[in-house]
Every structure is written in C-alpha cells, then in structure tokens.
C-alpha cells in the first residue's frame, strides 16, 4: 500500500476506524451532525463502524431506529431540510431499494423543485459489494443507480486515507451524498493523519503511475488492480491505476489525460457490467479528445450478469478477479 506523509503524526488505521474517526471528529465540533440507523447504538453497527460512539455521544445523536428504511430515510431528509446534518447508515446498500423514493424524489430534487430554496445536507453511508458470502440480497453494488440521479453526490473511497478525507468532505457538503463503503475494504489499512483533513469531491487519485495501459477502478477493485499491476510489471507492462474516488462528480480530466498518455483504457468495477458506470466512463472517453489517442478498443470488466451467488467459488467467479484483470490488460497491450 502507498503511504502519504502529512504534517502530523501518521499511524496505520483500518478503513473502518478511519470512517469512525471522521464521524466522531466532526460530531465533536458540530452539534447538528448526528447518526441514525439500524443497530448503530449498543450493537455498534452491522460491521462495527459505530462501535463506541454511543458511549461518547449518547442515544440522542447515535439514534437507533426501527427497521423502517422508508421512514428513517424520509426523516433524514426532513431533518436535513430543517437544519440538521444527519448521517444515515443504511445497514446494507441493497436496502436502498426501500428508501429509494426519499433518495431519488425527495432528497435529490427538493432544492431544485423549491427554486433554490432549502437544502438537504445529509450523508447516506452504506456497506456495499460482495465477497462476504452474504448472497444476492446483501452483496450488490448499485452505485450506477444513484449516479444516474441529478442532485445526488456518489462517493466510493478505496482506502482508509481516502475514506476519512472524503467522509469529512461529504458531511461538509450541503447536498445529499451516497457514501459506499466496500465490506472487504473495511479491514484494509493505510497511513492516516490524525488531524482532520478534507479530500475535495470530484478529484481522482493516480494510485500508480504507468505508461502502457490506464486502468480506471473503483472501491475494492482498486486493490485487485494494483495487485495485477505488480504482476504485469514483471512482464514489462507498465500499468497506470486511476481511482476516481467519486463517481459524481467524476474527475474526467485526469482520466482523459491518462488515456491520452497510454492510448489504452480498461475500466474495472465489481458492479454488474451491463449498465454499470464503466459504460458511462467508456463513452465519456470515446466522446472526448482522448478518442484520437486510443490504440485499442476500450475494455470493461464488471460483474457477471447474475445475482451474487452464495457459494464462495461461484461468488468469486461472479466478479472480476486479479487473473481476469491481467488477462484483459494483456489483450489490450497485445494489440
């Protein structure tokens, strides 16, 4: 993993700890910020993200809710509309289906419909992605849905350092933010400065410089792509890894610049390939000046068009793995 030197003392934090620290540090300063969600109090959150926060902030600001995604998502919108800065934890990103009206028709559109009056500064944090054997209804990656709605901001941090900085930016932002945390990334760790810092939304991060192929990857896929890049380096293929960090707004310039340099683009995400954001990024590149620099057709890797299966081997086969990435890159370069 890469490290990034900051002024203050650096220490190794897991992704999960980084998220918790971001929320806690913000809540200590800002009364309006509070967390609501199912089993986030004593239980500490389905994945332990809010562990310990009940003791520090009490039940008023760590509000355990009934299992009513429709109500609690609407309540978050209402609270945000009237001055609060709620952080709603949706236990699994798959449950967004029950809260969809409040996200798509209320949160995203209120400011626009009310002619610029009112704002909905809320963050919807939710664990996403497969690999934990949770099967089809608890393993989905549906970021393409929310990315499709004007008025929403969609964030997918891949590392602890990014998670802390981006969550801070999300909470400070006056718009509704959908903040996807991949379950398998919770336990990865990286150097995280102790003091609060904010990473601007819409700025991609080159996780690895390279000149032969550009791979745009999101969330947990960034780790797999970096692993593949190490292998490919042995065969003399120099991969550049671009992590957009936020899907909306998308840092098009960085991706275009990279593709102009390498002339080859692979997009990798865990979500089902059909209708995934890979298609959006590919057409953005095809419509940009980078088109003239393409020396091979744009290639995408995404989940198979199947619900995520329970069996571990089938589960692995359902989403792109490191060997798939290596194979795809070779196909691109052999061109």
């Amino acid at each position: 993993m890469y490290t990034r030197k900051g002024e203050t003392e650096m220490r190794e934090l897991t992704y999960l700890e980084a998220v918790r620290e971001a929320m806690s540090q913000e809540m200590r300063q800002n009364e309006d910020v509070f967390v609501l969600g199912e089993d986030i109090g004593l239980y500490g959150g389905a994945f332990g993200v809010t562990r310990g926060m009940l003791d520090e902030f009490g039940p008023e600001r760590i509000r355990n809710t009934p299992i009513s995604e429709a109500a609690i998502s609407g309540a978050a919108v209402g609270a945000a509309l009237t001055g609060m800065r709620p952080i709603l934890e949706l236990q699994f990103s798959d449950f967004i289906t029950i809260a969809m009206d409040n996200i798509v028709n209320q949160a995203a559109k209120t400011r626009y419909m009310f002619g610029g009056k009112g704002k909905v500064p809320m963050v919807l944090r939710t664990p996403a992605g497969s690999g934990t054997g949770a099967a089809a209804q608890h393993s989905q990656s549906l970021e393409a849905w929310t990315a499709h709605i004007p008025g929403l901001i969609v964030v997918q941090p891949s590392t602890a350092y990014d998670a802390k900085g981006l969550l801070k930016a999300a909470i400070d932002n006056d718009n509704p933010v959908i903040f996807y945390e991949h379950k398998l990334v919770y336990k990865t760790s990286s150097e995280v400065p102790e003091e609060q810092y904010s990473i601007p939304l819409g700025v991609a991060d080159i996780k690895r410089e390279g000149k032969d192929v550009t791979i745009v990857a999101t969330s947990y896929m960034v780790h797999k792509v970096l692993e593949a890049a190490k292998e490919l380096e042995k065969e003399g293929i120099d991969v550049e890894v671009v992590d957009p960090r936020t899907i909306v707004p998308l840092d098009k310039e960085t991706i275009i610049k990279s593709v102009k340099k390498t002339g080859r683009l692979l997009i990798a995400h865990e979500a089902v390939k059909r209708g995934g954001i890979g298609g959006e990024i590919a057409s953005m590149i095809a419509e940009s000046e980078a088109f003239d620099y393409l020396d091979a057709p744009i290639k995408r890797l995404g989940g198979k068009e199947v619900p995520i299966p329970y069996n571990p081997n089938l589960e692995k086969a359902a989403t792109p793995q490191v060997p798939d990435i290596i194979e795809a890159v070779k196909e691109l370069v052999r061109y």
Binding site: F34, E60, R63, T65, P66, S68, A70, A71, I72, S73, G74, A75, A76, V77, G78, A79, A80, L81, T82, G83, M84, D101, N102, N105, Q106, T110, R111, Y112, M113, F114, G115, G116, K117, G118, K119, P121, P150, G151, I153, N173, D174, N175
Partner: protein
C-alpha cells in the same frame, strides 16, 4: 354550537375569524381560476383542486403558531394559502413564470415557502409524512418548540411510509400532528373500498397515540381540535391523528369525468358548503353582515384576478436556469 359557547383558542380574535372567512373564499377562487385556465389549456401540465375542502385548510392552520411548520400534499394550494404563501407568486408558479415560488420549475405540486414554515407540497402520495417526522425530530433535538402539522389524504393512509412514519414519531414522541383530509376518494378509489376501518383516525390506537374524527366542513371544530392536538404535541406528549370528513367538489384532476361517484352524492356534499355555514354562523353571531360577506368575497375574487395579471406579466425563466440549483 355557537362561538360564544365554545372556547376558542386564545389567539383567535374576531378579526381572525373574519380573515378566516375571506381566506376560504381566496382559496376557492384560486382553485376555480386555476381550473378555468387549465380547461383553456393555458396552464401547462395538470393540477389537483381542493374546491370544497377550504375549511380543512383554514381551520387547522389557524390553530398553529407562526413558528409551527406544515407539510402539504399534491392538492395543497389551500394549505399554502392558509399558511400565508403569496397567491401572486403561487399563480406565477402555475404559469411556469420566474416570479413563481419555484422559479417556474416546481409547478402546482411543489409550491413551498420554507421561511414561513411551509415545508412544501409533495407529488408523492404520503411523500411528506416522513419528512414531517424529520422536521419534528429537528424540533425535538434542537428543542425549537415548533410543531409540525402534517396533511395527508385518505389514499396516503394506505402507503407504507404512513405506518412507518407514524410509528417512528410515536416511538420518538415527536411534535407532529398527522391531519387526514378524508375526501372520500383516492383518485378513483372510494375510501370505503380501500380502507377497512370506518375512520382512519381509529388507526391511531395502533401506534399508541390519540386519534379524533372531525367534520371537514366545520372550520371552528377543526380549529379547536387541531389546537388541542398541537399544544399537546408541543408539550412533548407526542403525535396524534385527526381525520376530517370532507369532499372535493371537482374531479381528481383536469381530465376526470368523476364516473366513480353520483351527482346526488356531489350535490348532497355541496349543500353542506363549509364557507356558507361559516358565513351564516358569523352573521348569526353578529360578527358579519351580508354586505360585508359579499364585499369580502369580491375582495378575494379581485385578489385572485390580480394574481393572474401578476402571473401573466412575470417573465419566462431563461434557458440557463435549467442548470441552477441542481446542487447547493
């Protein structure tokens, strides 16, 4: 029941009563004028009119304190007017003009005025209920002391959001009053076919909160009952449900031939016109004379005519306003 014998909320003065009378005519003429323009195709899209439900807008909102907030529905012109939203800017919004409340981008179902506590109409059936709960949550957490009056219709009472929200409000004891305008029909679904309880208010018991049925044509009864529920909530005793039996004289929307109901039923409800009853009550109580009533009626009509002129003179929004306010 006469004014002198019933105890009115302290902030209701005689002038307020007269204002309430004129306000109801304002609400009626607004919806009639809008209906007229929609019939001529002069207004874009569709609208939902609440002609006949004026008392359930004016009565309950009259019970509120200025800091209290309301959430409205897709048939909410009356609620907005009763909460003090400016008819000129509302009419301009219906004409899609820049001076409209939403700069012409919201339309009839999204009129709102957050400064005066009007958290806005909502195009989604029961869309406003969980938002009202949220607003009440803020009031509780910041103990701002305001109560949220949450309007919804008989149709909305069968949405999942209604049950979850009322339960959440009751569990967290939130300062919100759920006010149901049961106008007998959810679009074409008669409430008798769609709801298996005599009164929607009866469902309050399911969430351990008080529920009360009132006459949707009696503005004074609604005033008092709402006042009681609102103050109870303000004291922290949690939410309650009030159901007003009322009737919408016009169709669900512009192209509704009202085949689902009989003319007799319509005429029977029209005969119990809340505005006329309130006029007779005020005259009986000596607070109003026939001429003054006519005068107030004409004033209201004039205000609505002026609102049309205002709307027509207001400029169209520029194309690049398309991209404004997507994000804060």
């Amino acid at each position: 029941m006469t004014l002198t014998t019933t105890k009115l909320p302290p902030h209701i003065t005689n002038e307020k009563l007269i204002d309430m009378y004129k306000e109801m005519w304002l609400i009626r003429y607004f919806d009639e004028k809008v209906d007229q323009f929609f019939a001529k195709g002069a207004i874009h899209g569709t609208t939902h009119l609440a002609v006949g439900q004026e008392p359930s807008a004016t009565g309950p909102i009259a019970a509120l304190q200025p800091k209290d907030k309301i959430t409205s529905t897709h048939r909410g012109h009356g609620h907005s007017i009763a909460k003090g939203t400016d008819v000129n800017r509302m009419m301009a919004e219906l004409f899609g003009k820049v001076d409209g409340y939403c700069k012409g981008k919201g339309g009839s179902m999204h009129i709102a005025d957050l400064e005066i506590g009007n958290l806005g109409a909502n195009g989604i059936v029961a869309g406003g209920i969980s938002i009202a709960v949220g607003a009440a949550l803020t009031s509780k957490m910041k103990n701002s002391g305001y109560v949220v009056l949450c309007y919804f219709g008989d149709g909305a009472s069968n949405e999942g959001a209604f049950h979850e929200s009322v339960n959440l409000a009751s569990v967290w004891g939130l300062p919100v009053v759920f006010f149901c305008e049961n106008n007998q029909y959810g679009m074409s679904g008669s409430v008798k076919d769609m709801t298996n309880v005599e009164n929607i208010a009866d469902r309050a018991a399911a969430y351990g909160i008080p529920g009360k049925v009132v006459d949707g044509t009696d503005v004074i009864e609604m005033l008092n009952v709402t006042y009681e529920a609102v103050e109870n909530a303000r004291k922290g005793n949690g939410p309650s449900i009030i159901e007003a039996k009322t009737y919408r004289w016009k169709g669900h929307s512009k192209s509704d031939a009202k085949l689902y109901r009989t003319r007799e039923e319509e005429n029977e409800w029209k005969s119990r016109d809340g505005i006329k009853k309130f006029k007779e009550l005020l005259i009986a109580e000596g607070l109003l004379t026939e001429e003054k009533a006519k005068e107030l009626q004409q004033e209201a009509k004039k205000e609505i005519e002026d609102s049309v002129t205002f709307a027509q003179n207001s400029p169209e929004p520029t194309i690049d306003s398309l991209f404004e306010d997507v994000y804060a």
